[in-house]
Amino acid sequence: MKINTNPFGILKSLPALFLAAAMMVAGTSAQAEDIKVGFVYVGPVGDHGWTYRHDQGRLAVEKELGVATTFVESVAEGADSERVIRNLATTGHGLIFTTSFGYMNPTLKVAEQFPDVKFEHATGYKRADNLSTYSARFYEGRTVLGTIAGHMSKTGVVGYIASFPIPEVVRGINAFILAMRKVNPDAVVKVVWVNSWYDPGKEGDAAKALIDQGADIITQHTDSPAPLQVAEQRGVYAFGQASDMSAFAPTAQLTAIINDWNPYYVSRVKALMEGTWESQDVWSGIKTGMVEFAPYGDAVPAEARAAADAVREGIVNGTLHSFDGPINNQAGEQVIGEGETLDDGVLLGMDWYVEGVQGELGGQ
């Protein structure tokens, strides 16, 4: 289900390819066979979540541009990542995507040593002339999920399986409950931190615990389909994470946020081939197609579908923002009033809960 406002969509059309080919012949750009692109993954390509979607992007680059790619999977975010990134830089990779926050400082270090190689780091904030950053506004997707949950939860309790208390994850929780409470003002979300991005065992256990505490919808900011499988068994609903997980929970999945890096990766590799690659900071969402959705599950009633579609449309055409006021914090104190919106600076460093989130935010 593609949104037709996707500006990268044009890449898929034949004329663009002919144009690119013509430019190559003209010698203004690198040949596809001269370019190798490297990817560093934090998890296994078969995680069905975060890494899987990045790898789909890599495959799209191979398919659409005929460029050779290399990936290294399950690279630990400590001392090892710098060596892996450096090894990619020394083995002829002209552009290297490092796809996890923990690779930020290692990527920067290697980028300083290899000024002729281009680097792109996902979800970080450190940039250089040859180091771009990119991320998606996944919180926009959470707003859509929250809207559906508001319409569908009978208990008004949603279980949220979270990875690490970083701004990215806190932002998602807040966006979700803000949207849900617009539909059901008494709704609450219970959060369980599993301290991992990918741990099917822990994620599944967390889902069970949350259901036992009254949650009739499960959502997650971790990468395995285990919580959906639990939801399917226990007869509650759930949302897929990062990719369409309906295969694991055909009845339970209401929809899923899909991270679609394909157009972005193709456009950046193409820019490199054409010599137009420049360091930049990209943070885009539903509008550009970086955040997509799986088809609605059969259980989603027409009313919820219409509401969710309206929210998506509002976000795309700018009439709605996930963090429009009034917003109260967890203690019930007003943070912003009617007519105001939290800005990107606040969102990037978000380390507080909004009203309706139960539990304490770790490490405060």
Binding site: G38, P44, V45, T70, F71, V72, E73, S74, V75, A76, E77, G78, A79, D80, E82, R83, V84, R86, N87, L88, T90, T91, F101, G102, N105, Y125, F164, P165, I166, P167, N195, L348, G349, M350, D351, G362, G363, Q364
Partner: protein
Amino acid sequence: MFVSLVKRPERSQWMVYLSPVIALAMTLVSGIILFQLMGVESGKALYAFFVEPITHKYGWAELGVKATPLILIGVALSVGFRANVWNIGAEGQLTLGAICGGGVALFFYGVDSVFVLPLMMVGGILGGMMWAAIPAFLRTRFNANEILTSLMLTYVATLLLSVLVHGPWRDPDGFNFPESRIFSDSATLPVIWAGTRLHLGWIITIAVVAAVWVLMSKTIVGFQVKVVGQAPLAGRHAGFSVNRVIWFSLLLGGAMAGLAGLFEVSGPIGQLLPVISPGYGFTAIIVAFVGRLHPVGVFFAGLLLALSYLGGESAQITMNLPLAVTGVFQGMLLFFLLACDVLIAYQFRLNMTRGAKYG
């Protein structure tokens, strides 16, 4: 059981030295079969695994960087294993070393003094010892199994580090991401080979290997450790304190694991992160056994394991082999190494008659 393992009356001296060679040969042969089955050129794949990582200076240095924590912890753990003290929680002691040593670095953030680094090392060692002292106390006082207590404390340590980097030690300029500040230069281990990441920790590790060798082969402490491990009753008769050996083994393991943790954060990482080790404390247990609990053996086992990790990365980069193949290949290597060792000390015996359990 129709087949049982029986201890050989005498080990063949030849075989003791040949065993690793045989294991390596068997790994190569099975590797070739595996790669052929996958349709991969086996010569190229083996080259990517064993040779390519060390075809350049940076690769050799990385071998040292990767092997440093494995050898440092493995050599200390091997002392405890000889005494039948099973410290499985080196990973937690490593984490505490990183916390305490890294805490010193953050406390002296921006202070340019030559005393910062030695203080951090002391902090790392004390942190690891403190964490290992808990299972030592529980074992000697309440006879609680140290395998369980030391292992469980690993999870506590990881969560403690997580709390610190998510909270009080978070980089104030870091958009609330869970990372500490990057350590000052005075708190970063000096690189001993320009243009690489090989740091002072490597030299200290080699010194520790030599020291443990002397300890185990030339001193009364080493003798006590061995006697208590092999024959606790005889040890008691000789007046050796089992409890002292337990304390000594655990504290030594904790100290070196803590130091290894400090080396990681003040060396290649340069800051505190929520997770600082990809399981070095656990891998070091394998290193200790592959090295047959001998300091020199542990040294080479550490290098071999490190090479297999680098080889796995290089096989992914140059051969596009998936990580799972790397895992299978590493598993075969370890399996053959340990199996060959077992068959040197033991032999198979076929039991044709049932009920001959005591025969």
